[in-house]
């Protein structure tokens, strides 16, 4: 194995280590949020944002999406986000179950 290859490999592993430490820190942050004295919805949104950032980092750097062609990156992001947003249509029903209005009785 050449020295250049070794150097390139250790450079890439160094970059992976930085992303790994960031992911560990973000995962730790979720645990800190879990013990904050805030209401459930605030806690949910904070954790969801942190999880989203974690997922973005993992996809872009661990799954190498950042180094793929831009067309493919856009395809994955736009398609996935569209379907995920499409799944959110039922929340009004969920809140209606809580409030018991207007048709639950």
């Amino acid at each position: 194995m050449t020295t250049t290859t070794e150097q390139h490999k250790s450079d890439e592993i160094g970059k992976d280590l930085i992303v790994y430490v960031c992911l560990l820190a973000l995962a730790g942050l979720q645990f800190v949020i879990a013990y904050q004295n805030i209401d459930g919805s605030q806690m949910f949104w904070r954790m969801l944002v942190v999880a989203g950032v974690e997922a973005g980092l993992a996809e872009l750097f661990f799954m190498h999406l950042w180094s793929e062609k831009r067309a493919f990156l856009l395809f994955v992001v736009i398609f996935t986000v569209s379907v995920l947003l499409g799944m959110q249509y039922g929340w009004t029903d969920s809140f209606r179950m809580v409030t018991g209005a207007p048709f639950s009785h």
Binding site: T5, A51, M63, K69, V98
Partner: protein, 199 residues
């Protein structure tokens, strides 16, 4: 029509290796499956007033998270080694990843057994609505199935890579799957565990 006889070269979609594209399409489809489960879970949790909060400690889930994140790093090092032509190193790191996957699965099973021991079943539990058990076991069970399949795939691909039947591209494809399993866990932990802690 034979491509080489006409001189026409048809490139793969997105100029992507076919196996990698297939794995990405699987991952996108699987994202929908997990998202549907988590959205359904959120729907039920939001609409059920007496939702149970059975988790007293975060030690086990924190350890599981650490192990899974670390396994993603070891998978990456395995891939880097394979790309650099270090076959023995790549095999070693893939096997370490598989071992971490096994430890994660064992911790998961231990946690399940503790909850079952406390009286939690698929449709009933001592703390509140029975929907909790169904949703908890479904989501974590689906994830555990993915981890188990991943471990089997890691060992299979690792051994075949060592034997010369697979190459670094196959390890990259498998790595995509393993990182995806890790990525899903990042959403399962806050929604299923941390929001259900007893304070």
């Amino acid at each position: 029509m034979e491509g080489h006889s006409t001189g026409v070269t048809v490139g793969p979609a997105f100029a992507f290796p076919t196996k990698k594209l297939a794995m990405w399409l699987f991952i996108i489809a699987d994202t929908m499956t997990f998202a549907a489960c988590l959205v359904a879970y959120g729907f039920l949790r939001n609409g059920t007033p007496n939702w149970p909060r059975p988790f007293h400690s975060i030690t086990n889930v924190a350890l599981m998270t650490f192990i899974l994140l670390t396994s993603s790093l070891t998978m990456l090092i395995g891939l880097r080694s394979a790309r650099a032509g270090d076959k023995a190193g790549a095999f070693r790191w893939i096997m370490i990843t598989a071992a971490l996957g096994v430890v994660f699965a064992l911790l998961h099973v231990r946690e399940w057994l503790e909850l079952i021991d406390q009286g939690m079943r698929l449709f009933k539990n001592p703390w509140g609505t029975g929907l909790f058990g169904a949703s908890f076991f479904s989501i974590t069970g689906l994830h555990l199935t993915h981890v188990t399949c991943g471990v089997i795939a890691l060992v299979t691909v690792g051994v075949r890579y060592k034997g010369g039947r697979y190459n670094a591209d196959d390890i990259e494809v498998l790595g995509l799957y393993w990182h995806f399993v890790d990525l899903v866990w990042m959403f399962v932990v806050p929604l299923v565990y941390l929001l259900n802690l007893t304070h």
